[in-house]
Symmetry: C2
Subunit: 221 residues, 2 copies
DNA sequence: GTCTATAGACGGATAGAC
DNA sequence: GTCTATCCGTCTATAGAC
């Protein structure tokens, strides 16, 4: 966490909450855990945030909104520069994924914890987060989904959506587990290595969308 | 849930726990939720299972162990039949993935709920589950990882591990979200459609491992 | 804005009758 | 094996002094 000066109670709370929510989940984290780590009084947390759900939402949107704005801005700029031709697939995927992987690599300012929260959010459905995800996350994903779609007109809609789902799944899984890569790979991959992850993720995603169609259904067994 | 006859209290409890743990997570589910859904007395649950963590572990291993045994048996048989040549990539991935996707499609006997639990387990780390995952899940994953590795000797170890991680991530994400595909795709894909998922997942995984290596690091922006 | 103190509900777990 | 009743700790949230 960066250095705080005056009365940044709210900021300190958000950083502590981010870390614990990422590690333990929403239901596994108590306000006492958070205020304890933050060194803030329990009642003060309620004063600043109202309740636990509002705290979680604040942790979520505080990071996601600026990232989404910058991603959409970069996308719009790239499309403008490409004029009537298409923005390259590599570039589309890079614009979509880089800010997230870089966040996952940020071990100094808590970005890594937000990346883990984001990686979890599609898989552990918190009822009160449904509206937030629909409003903040889905439109941006859909925007990139549409842009990538133009590169894969040969794919049937269902085929394309499955592949897009695999790519998004791989990305969220990576965001949630970029810490811990070292242990899982017995030291071969490093933890929080955004550059390595991105360098592999971009061609991986391109290969997913450009792979030929398997016409006949699976016939094994 | 299937029809129970005599005093299948334990079984009823496991089905109810499976459903609620999948939907709400471990910390988000109370024993009272579970016994309420199961129609079983709270004290009876403790009598049969000891405590909440033991219940979760039981829910987890009860499904996973037989699946892993059958997957390893099929793999061993396929390797024997292939003699000194390699088992095909398609077949390897099919052996690894099919039982899980079929479970995710089982809306009659609760298999779908276990698939969601499995899909969550890599991304939401429960401290008491670490040992179980290391003992029950990792060895099987490693076994398939090794078998697939022989098809990709051209990939550097790090490169291979990243791709394997993407494939596993896509699979777990799919398992956790195979319900809800219809809403997310605006009706184009169906829910719990194991056949469709598998038909796309297998070539997707093959394409991931056979994609050419991008030599130079990403240079965009 | 920050604190102490506490309300009020709910959590997992158990004792002991049947 | 199953039940009622209950213990006891912890939770979120708030009231009210400073």
């Amino acid at each position: 966490m960066p250095g705080f000066q005056k009365s940044d109670t709210l900021e300190i709370l958000l950083y502590a909450a981010e870390e614990l929510f990422a590690k333990q989940g929403f239901d596994g984290t108590t306000l006492r855990d958070i205020t304890g780590l933050a060194g803030v009084n329990l009642a003060a947390a309620h004063y600043h945030l109202g309740n636990k759900e509002a705290l979680y939402i604040k942790v979520f949107t505080r990071r996601l909104q600026p990232i989404n704005e910058s991603r959409l801005a970069r996308l719009a700029r790239a499309e403008q520069e490409a004029n009537i031709s298409l923005v390259g697939m590599e570039q589309l995927i890079e614009i979509m994924a880089r800010p997230l992987f870089e966040l996952a690599a940020d071990t100094q300012h808590g970005g890594q914890y937000f990346a883990r929260i984001l990686g979890r959010c599609l898989v552990e459905p918190l009822p009160f987060m449904e509206a937030i995800i629909t409003a903040e996350l889905q439109p941006v994903m859909a925007r990139f989904g549409q842009a990538l779609r133009r590169h894969s007109p040969q794919l049937a809609p269902e085929e394309y959506l499955w592949r897009f789902s695999f790519v998004i799944g791989a990305m969220h899984h990576s965001l949630a587990t970029l810490h811990g890569m070292k242990v899982r790979t017995h030291g071969i991959c490093r933890d929080h290595d955004a550059a390595a992850a991105l360098q592999r993720f971009i061609p991986f995603a391109v290969a997913t969308f450009t792979a030929p169609v398997k016409p006949e259904p699976v016939n094994n067994r």
